[in-house]
């Protein structure tokens, strides 16, 4: 069940109605938990068991960690959680990839190894809820007190708005909200539904209808793309993935709001970033902050020798790339971002004003430069194979002419959406949704909401899933 579906609208209406029943808070939380399991089971019922395993193991491990009196014992229970969660993730997400890579390695050394295809189905959202439960266990290992209620913890792992594609919520952000009874107030519903409409507009109108057709056409014909086709297709994908994922996150945050819960922001105008470290503070914030807190800092962060700091950045970004999918192309995408960050660090050391210049022109120059290089990196994220990625790279940087003809209507729609995105990101760089909504009178919000709903209704549906579901 995806957010941009009629089934979800029906499901969500039932959830909100059920949530209003005059029942004790514990019962209503139980109801939310059951609805969340139902939401996940709508994909593939047996995979709910994986969530139960993660929930059970982490609940057990954290209580043991808190009670342990020796370092060895605390480590052993942390290891239990890590091995179980990463083991499940490794098997379902990377099993086929590891086997395939091993076969290539053996064959490159002259061996003849032909195993049967593993045929493993990837459970939707496994990367998201695995990182979420792991963060809780590591926090407890680091000294946080374990949460006393199993029901609250199970709801934290499974809460349906953020279950399958984030934001990756920290226990400290969610569990305290379970303490006191929550209701869907008129304020919560009004603002939450507004966010859901904005998110749906991002996904169905901007990502799917205006940007995806050109991106799909160019990446499908990558081998024949010339300079103009390659750059326009890559810009279209930059916009598509932003509106697709930011749309999903906005709907998730809005749905949670309707139920009286607050989830953290996941995007903050990333294409108005001044440099790459700024980009990663604005793009998929819940993942980048997770990687920072649970990987980069434990590796030593930036408090080591310059060479070691560079290695830490590279390792973090390589693993961040691999988190997105079991493919060497994702590793290359991560490596490229690692190199960007390393280069930026060097520039900051010697020419700090280059990255954050004072004048408007200089800032625009850095913003556009960041956007261009981030967009170029998406080539490796989106291309179906290395050869297509290299063809596009060649066309983009050599100005080569190509045979691929770009449809004029698709190009104009994509350019319009890209322009809207860049201007919007620039305008919103230092602003929040709340602040912007606050600027409008109530009837002004009505007009904006009506316009978005009309655009959504006029855009014929398609079968495009949210891109981040595959991760």
């Amino acid at each position: 069940m995806v957010f941009d579906s009629f089934s979800f609208l029906l499901f969500f209406a039932v959830v909100v109605a059920g949530y209003q029943l005059p029942l004790p808070w514990t019962w209503r939380k139980t109801l939310l938990l059951l609805f969340s399991y139902g939401f996940y089971a709508a994909w593939n019922p047996p995979f709910v068991a994986l969530i139960w395993i993660s929930t059970g193991i982490d609940w057990f491990a954290t209580r043991r960690i808190a009670r342990s009196t020796t370092v060895a014992s605390r480590r052993a229970y942390l290891l239990l959680s890590l091995v179980t969660n990463l083991g499940l993730l490794g098997f379902f997400k990377y099993g086929g990839f590891l086997l395939e890579s091993f076969v290539v390695l053996v064959q490159s050394m002259g061996g003849d190894f032909r195993p049967a295809a593993p045929d493993i189905i990837l459970p939707v959202g496994i990367s998201f809820y695995t990182f979420q439960t792991l963060s809780y266990t590591i926090d407890v290992y680091r000294g946080e007190k374990p949460w006393p209620s199993f029901l609250d913890f199970a709801l934290y792992v499974t809460f349906f708005p953020q279950l399958v594609a984030g934001p990756i919520v920290r226990a400290g952000e969610f569990l305290p909200q379970c303490r006191e009874s929550r209701r869907s107030t008129a304020e919560d519903l009004g603002w939450g539904l507004s966010l859901m409409v904005v998110g749906l507009f991002f996904k169905t109108v901007l990502a799917d209808a205006m940007l995806a057709p050109l991106a799909d056409a160019v990446f499908a014909g990558a081998q024949k793309a010339g300079f103009v086709a390659a750059w326009s297709g890559v810009f279209a994908f930059s916009g598509q993935i932003y509106f697709d994922f930011a749309g999903y996150s906005t709907i998730a945050i809005g749905a949670a709001h309707c139920l009286g819960f607050t989830l953290p922001m996941n995007f903050r105008s990333p294409y108005a970033s001044l440099g790459f470290s700024d980009f990663w503070r604005r793009w998929h914030i819940s993942l980048s902050s997770w990687l920072r807190d649970y990987l980069y800092i434990p590796l030593g962060g930036n408090r080591r020798q310059p060479i070691r700091v560079s290695m830490n950045l590279l390792i973090t970004m390589l693993l961040g790339g691999l988190w997105h999918g079991a493919s060497w192309l994702f590793v290359l995408w991560g490596a490229l971002h690692g190199l960007y960050l390393m280069a930026e660090r060097k520039v900051r050391e010697h020419f700090p004003h280059w990255i954050e210049p004072g004048g408007l022109f200089g800032r625009l120059f850095v913003m556009v430069g960041t956007y261009l290089l981030v967009s170029f990196a998406w080539v490796f994220f989106r291309a179906s194979d290395l050869s297509s990625a290299m063809s596009l790279t060649h066309a983009m940087w050599t100005g080569a002419a190509g045979e691929l003809a770009v449809d004029r209507a698709q190009l104009e729609l994509a350019l319009a959406a890209t322009f809207l995105m860049l201007v919007g990101n620039h305008f919103m760089r230092e602003r929040t949704f709340v602040g912007t909504a606050h600027l409008l009178p109530w009837w002004g919000r009505s007009v904006v909401l009506a316009a978005l709903m009309i655009a959504i209704a006029l855009t014929p549906g398609n079968d495009r899933a949210f891109l981040y579901f595959q991760f």
């Binding site: 946080e144 107030t185 109530w442 009505s446 209704a457």
Partner: protein
């Protein structure tokens, strides 16, 4: 543990009740006006022939037994068969339409053969230039649809979603795929106005073509030009494809199902070219013999030959019911003989 500062609703302020009532009223009035505008211009609600819709109908074929039937093929059979007329004429359940325009029936037939629960009748429409395409591009595209369908089938709410989509699609003209923003923009760039198309798909996936609004000669020329660019397969590839059709037919028959091959009418310049490039004795006759079982070629039946195909390839919506009844009678006879 602390609660995050986020986009809290309390900071936005109301009045939300008034805001939403006005927003819904504005949207309803605007959409109502747009609906009336398109209907006044002759547009009707239409269903998108999407992977989801196809997948829903493929799911219905799971566990199907004779006399339940499935139709596979390309556009000719999707336009020519009136599903209700077929059911009425044969007394069998309404067939499931799985033909896909411009795609080979082979991967769909293979998929049904692999489905051990399927024991129904498969009507395989053979358009030589599609089934025997040298590049096998049309086959790859059909295989992609099968793969998409298998992915979608995992989702337990797909049936419900398809039902909702069909309901909305068949209610509102403004959701007609012909009125999508990219199409409207492309038309305006070409200096054209959107006009109701002569072709549409219904929620049971049957397709209709109203030739009273079609430039028949132009359409035929388009098919002819397309055929002229397509390569004919060598005998080796022909045998390979025929072998695959025969293996799937054998697997279905072994479970009690049946496979009927059908060749639908063509005419005019396109018909001549098709017969020239794909001679009956080299393609159809070899296929029918190797696959065995019932095979219906329009040339062998006067009542099928006489049905007009205005663009050389497709049956008009007005003739579809009559044509279907004729074909259904023949298929029922042939299938009964084979049992």
């Amino acid at each position: 543990m602390t609660v995050p500062s986020s986009i809290s609703s309390s900071e936005v302020g109301g009045p939300w009740g008034r805001t939403w009532i006005l927003a819904i009223a504005l949207a309803a009035v605007a959409l109502g006006a747009i609906e009336l505008h398109w209907r006044a211009r002759g547009f009707k609600p239409a269903v998108s022939d999407s992977a989801r819709l196809w997948s829903t109908h493929r799911h219905r074929a799971h566990g199907l037994e004779r006399p339940g039937s499935v139709i596979v093929g390309a556009s000719r059979v999707q336009y020519a068969i009136d599903l209700d007329a077929f059911a009425d004429e044969t007394g069998w359940p309404v067939p499931i339409q799985l033909a896909i325009q411009g795609r080979s029936p082979l991967p769909i037939l293979n998929d049904l053969a692999e489905d051990s629960s399927f024991k129904g009748l498969v009507i395989v429409e053979v358009t030589d230039r599609i089934l025997f395409q040298a590049s096998r591009q049309r086959e790859r595209r059909a295989r992609l649809r099968v793969a998409e369908s298998r992915e979608l089938a995992v989702n337990q709410t797909e049936g419900l979603e398809a039902w909702f989509e069909a309901l909305v699609g068949s209610t509102f003209a403004f959701r007609n795929p012909e009125l999508s923003p990219d199409r409207l923009l492309a038309l305006s760039q070409a200096g054209l106005r959107a006009t109701p198309r002569e072709r549409w798909v219904e929620s049971d996936r049957s397709a209709k073509m109203d030739f009273s609004r079609v430039n028949e000669a132009g359409l035929e020329q388009r098919w002819v030009r397309r055929l002229a660019t397509e390569k004919r397969p060598g005998l080796r590839l022909r045998n390979e494809i025929i072998g695959e059709v025969a293996a799937s037919a054998e697997a279905i028959r072994a479970r009690g199902g049946e496979v009927v091959l059908v060749k639908l009418p063509n005419s005019g310049r396109l018909g001549e070219m098709e017969n020239e490039r794909f001679p009956r004795e080299v393609f159809w006759d070899v296929l029918a013999e190797r696959v065995g079982g019932p095979a219906v070629h329009f040339e062998d039946y006067e009542e099928l030959r006489s049905i007009p195909t205005p663009d050389g390839s497709h049956v008009d919506a007005a003739d579809a019911a009559e044509f279907t009844r004729t074909l259904a009678r023949i298929i029922k006879q042939r299938a009964a003989v084979s049992r």
